[in-house]
Amino acid sequence: MIKIFHFYGGVHPQEAKISRGVSIVDAPLYPLYTVPLAMHIGAPARSLVKVGDTVLRGQQIGEPASFVSSAIHSPTSGKVKALDVCLSPQGTQLPCVVIESDGEDTPAEPLPPIPDWRDADPDILRKRVAEAGIVGMGGASFPTPVKLSIPPGKSIDTLIINGVECEPCLTADHRLMLESPKMILEGVELVARILGVKNVFIGIENNKPDAIQVLDKEAAAYTDPVIHVLPLHVRYPQGAEKQLIYAITKRQVPSGGLPADVHCVVQNIGSIYAIAEAVIHGKPLYERVTTVTGTPLVSTGNWRFRVGTSYAEAIKLAGGLKEGASIAKLISGGPMMGMTVYSQSIPVMKNTSGILLMAPEEVHQYTSKACLRCGRCNDVCPMQLMPGILSVQIENERFDDAQNWHVMDCIECGCCAYTCPAGRPLVQHMRRAKSEVGAKLRAAKAAK
């Protein structure tokens, strides 16, 4: 093993990965699936079904509505009960297809598998990734086919696989690496071939020594491309794209730029696994591994949920609440970047990496006090911004100033709010400013 890699700033919260030893289990079939048509960044998919239609497992029910969009597939066989709206973790209404399961779970004709993918044309593979509706499964859910098509004028020389899973509590990627290393490495080779890249790194934090060992052993067999498994210093937010690129290659993505500007592409472990399944078995993306965890739960674990399963079912699957326990907070995702939600009717989506429950004694409520100018947020901000100064500007609605202080580079990792002794809701301020400045920039672009 070589030297250990790291990046600027960050924090090290309590890891609390209590479900790390629990194997992935397939979730049972549920009578009802609420499948949102917008499980990705970009335009919501166009529905291909009507109320009363019969659908099969893996059948396409939504087609991409624009370049940045994604296909949606049915999680099971059954009847379309309604075309409705459902709640998203952000609290907005998403268009969705409600599918009533018939209990048969009849699979549709799979996409034709491509067994000779090593010799296949990259365009065919890229098309397959689009057909299978694959999106970034780390959380941002950016459509993968867009990421895999290299923008004109840019060149890619490095592929980075994100097996960091720096969020506390979550163990879905960890389990996937441990249980399916062969599939993941085939997926890695596949993506490397699509991009024509010779340099591949898999970054894993060294609190997962078993995963590093397993993947390192398997990766030794690969010579074209050579796959390096790199242990990383445990530091949140190492799994953020720009931080991971810096930790591994020491290249800095310019402000407002993309990884392609520094010749890198980053893919999440979950997406790699889904790509491998789509190409080798012809299976579209309709299920994912999600960690259900939290101290109020009877048991915690990692389940392979089909998209559209409600959080309530997931919590029930984990044995429900302990006797006398109550939930103070329900979080979609991890504790640092996840969204606090208030309804258990929200469905599991392609980017739901975890469902976290917190007991009342674990949730602290802070009243926001004035900034102390202590500068701790400057020390931990991985983007090297000055969150304290920004928050004061934003509080006074000085969004132009915030823009000049590069608020648009904020990745909303939450390190600043985590470390703030005055209990200031810094991430909420940043989100507000990013939305206001973003609206202004879009208006300026439209006016042009």
Binding site: V85, L87, P89, Q90, G91, T92, Q93, M339, T340, V341, Y342, S343, Q365, S368, P425, Q428, H429, R431, R432, S435, E436
Partner: protein, 258 residues
Amino acid sequence: MSTLVIIVVVGVFTGIAIAIVSKFFGVESNPLEDQVKELLPGANCGGCGYAGCSGYAKALAEGKAAPGACAAQKPEDLKKTAALLGASVEQKVPKVAVVFCSGDDTNATRQAQYNGINNCRDAMFVAAGAKTCTYGCLGLGACARVCPFGAIEITDKHLAVVHKELCRGCGKCVQACPKKLIRLVPRSAEIHVHCSNPMKGAVKLRGCKAACIGCGKCVRTAPDNMRINNGTALAEVNYGNPPAEELAQVCPTHALRK
């Protein structure tokens, strides 16, 4: 004694200096501009597209702008302005802002406790404010803060209410509301449908007792004055021909009210 002499001498010299400076460097102010400015509301809201009321007054006096661009100007003041400038102006329908929501704490329910920043626009980033009705007023006062006339009150039950007598219809609150609940409507209308949720009636009632359930009672009673917004369970006042105040009594949920 010498102190007094110095003060007097300095005073005389300064006076002379000021007189000379004002004679040679003075900026001539346009008396018309001052008169026009007096007739503007002085809120500097920027709704006219100029840098505050003085900017608009200057443009008016120089003939670069036409009277009537100020939404907040009183009709009689507009008439006076037009007379001063010798321009004709068509009388606009005076407007007033209305918050189309009845969901205060007694009517609407919340699904979670929100402890974040005390501003609706910020609350939108935390599960959109956690109200059961995702269309409802959050009552955190983004509109009240931008109102230049202090016409919006956040009641102690967390609902924004526009005071008609203070509102000048400038429309700043319309842009400030993240839920898009505020609209400018003709001042002559007495009653409005205070609901903005386009979903089915039964769904709405789960989150708010005062929602418009789209029963159509008002439309049947006064078909000329009311209509159902097409495709939704939401009645709407026909603002071309607003109904009388008494119609509010037929509404079973009291969404149609003053």
